[in-house]
């Protein structure tokens, strides 16, 4: 697959199909945003964790970029997500590595035989990702973790899909909900991860993992539009 394969997936109606090229663009855009937000994520994590979340995410997404060029020409979105998952598992470390790794592994599983993702497939992808994180990390809603961005995103995606929205619109709804969800972690006390050691002192700080989730879903929505 050529590096700029992502450029040629426009459809006749002007919307982009969510195909392999979109999946690759999603990862590229995520890497871009995470690099730019690296220090900001570190700072969030320093406030209520150990200050490495931006570092960890940046390391993982930088590691996947060169591998994208080596994808088979007939790779489907699921194959791309699986590559992302295994790369994150083997390069991110910390709590976020296995959690995001499992998320994308499950997402790959949920989209296995599909070449192009419609809104229903997108909802399945997001749901599987969220469920994977819950399976590994056992966090519930309101525990002040990345789940508090993922769950509203899944709900919003589901609602948009039920309302008959296009796949890009479903993603935008998910991204918006994740951003709100991340923001809404600020008043919470944490019950999972390092921030749980802080008790009341976590109040007023945004969860870094919820924030990185919001950034990833924003990247997914961005990737439905042509970028330069």
């Amino acid at each position: 697959m050529s590096p700029d394969a992502g450029r040629n997936s426009d459809q006749a109606d002007g919307a982009l199909t969510l195909d392999t090229a979109w999946t690759v663009r999603w990862i590229r855009r995520s890497a871009e945003i995470l690099a730019a937000e690296r220090t900001a994520l570190n700072t969030l994590d320093r406030d209520i964790g150990d200050g490495d979340h931006g570092e960890n995410m940046d390391r993982g997404f930088q590691a996947v970029l060169p591998k994208l060029d080596g994808l088979a020409d007939d790779a489907n979105p699921s194959a791309v997500l699986k590559l992302l998952a295994t790369t994150l598992i083997s390069t991110v470390g910390g709590a976020a590595g296995p959690l995001y790794g499992t998320a994308f592994l499950k997402a790959a599983g949920a989209t296995a035989a599909t070449g192009t993702l419609d809104s229903l497939a997108l909802v399945a992808l997001l749901t599987a990702a969220r469920d994977g994180i819950v399976l590994r990390g056992k966090a519930g809603a309101g525990d002040k973790t990345m789940i508090d961005a993922w769950s509203p995103a899944v709900d919003a995606a589901q609602a948009a899909q039920s309302a008959g929205e296009s796949a890009p619109a479903v993603l935008t709804a998910a991204a918006d909900a994740a951003a709100r969800g991340a923001q809404d972690t600020e008043p919470l006390v944490a019950h999972k991860g390092r921030a749980s050691y802080l008790g009341e002192r976590a109040i007023g700080h945004r969860d870094p993992g919820a924030q990185s989730t919001a950034l990833l879903l924003r990247a997914a929505a961005d990737a439905t539009r042509v970028m330069d």
Binding site: T39, R46, D52
Partner: protein, 358 residues
């Protein structure tokens, strides 16, 4: 407020790559923040080639003579920055391998898996894991992968830190300096030939009998962050600090050492069912930046408090064994001994950081 950024370390600005001018203001004996762990491990191998060898990629430290046919392998690991934990404890009578992650970040499953394979003597491998979400998850994945390859892997999670309430509402107690005692004693059990089930039982026994509580006087600076991990006022200390600079129970004004020791011991003694006449191992651990002379002042008072309760300090350990880079502070661990644990503690050990009987 005193942040290290304002004083010893200089100002470090936001950046996504480290420009040559920027490491110059972070006051550490390093070359490039990105190479700290690799270079340190290379130096470690150069210094202790009689005891260990290093696999550079995936990165782990292993006993020079591993694997031992018929001996349970013992693997630990976690973020770097806590040296000598864990690499300094690889060797006869303690760990078979250690897997260092980036500074304060858990290693990924790949090197854990590779280390597990390299110490497998055919009778199973024990993973000793400090209770942090990242460590637990990454070791879990590695254990799954190793099991899939037919290696019998068991895991013991260390959670000796009484600063954190062990409840459904937290990630649970953290694994801190007590880990050293688990590694030493469990390593001795494996060395004498215990099978995997017995080795696991020893590790769980030590973990259930050791409690730790720490204090920080100053923060530390993670090389790739370049800024202190938290901020303490000139007259503030953090009681119940974790080993990555995670906050603890409370932030108080600096007090005399004896008063601080009393504060650290209280929750330990509340939690550990010790009776007059019991024997303990008292371990005063330095966080990295506190001189030995202060650690012995801490030991003096801790031993005194235990003695007043009729508890005998029959074994002791004092020094920088589970550190947080250059953080100033200390932790106190109390391990309730019995004849078996005492004998295993006394058994020969030959590692870079702990050595006797050999």
């Amino acid at each position: 407020m005193s942040t290290v950024g304002e004083c010893a370390w200089g100002e470090v600005s936001d950046r996504s790559v480290v420009a040559p001018s920027e490491w110059q203001v972070m006051k550490k004996l390093i070359n490039d923040p990105k190479h700290v762990v690799n270079e340190a491990v290379a130096g470690f191998e150069a210094a202790h080639g009689d005891i260990v060898r290093v696999s550079p990629d995936p990165l782990f430290i292993v006993r020079a003579d591993a694997p031992h046919k018929g001996k349970v392998g013992i693997v630990s690991g976690g973020g770097s920055g806590h040296e000598p934990l864990h690499g300094g404890f690889v060797g006869l009578g303690m760990l078979d391998a250690a897997v260092p992650g980036p500074v304060f970040t858990s290693p990924t499953p790949d090197p854990i898996l590779a280390a597990t394979q390299s110490v497998d003597g055919g009778v199973g491998v024990l993973h000793i894991v400090k209770n942090y979400t990242g460590d637990v998850l990454n070791f879990e994945t590695a254990a799954d992968l190793a099991s899939a390859e037919g290696i019998d892997v068991r895991t013991v999670i260390i959670n000796d830190d009484v600063a954190v309430k062990d409840s459904l509402y937290t990630a649970g107690r953290r694994g801190v300096a007590g880990t050293v005692l688990v590694e030493k004693i469990t390593g001795a059990a494996a060395e004498r030939g215990d099978d995997l089930t017995a080795v696991v039982a020893v590790a769980e026994k030590v973990n259930s009998r050791v409690r730790t509580m720490g204090v920080a006087l100053t923060p530390c600076v993670v090389p790739h962050a370049g800024e202190p991990s938290f901020v303490l006022a000139d007259d503030e200390i953090e009681i119940g600090i974790g080993i990555h600079g995670e906050p603890g129970r409370e932030r108080i004004k600096l007090e005399p050492a004896d008063a601080i020791v009393d504060r650290l011991l209280a929750p330990i003694l509340e939690d550990l069912p010790l009776a007059s006449g019991d024997q303990v191992l008292l371990f005063v651990n330095g966080m990295g930046g506190t001189p030995l002379v202060e650690l012995y002042i801490v030991f003096r008072r801790a031993a005194e408090v235990l003695r007043e309760r009729g508890i005998t300090v029959s074994r002791s350990l004092v020094g920088n064994y589970t550190t947080s880079l250059e953080m100033a502070g200390a932790s106190i661990s109390v391990l309730q001994l019995d004849a078996e644990l005492t004998a295993l503690w006394d058994a020969p050990v030959q590692t870079a950081a702990l050595r006797w009987g050999r």
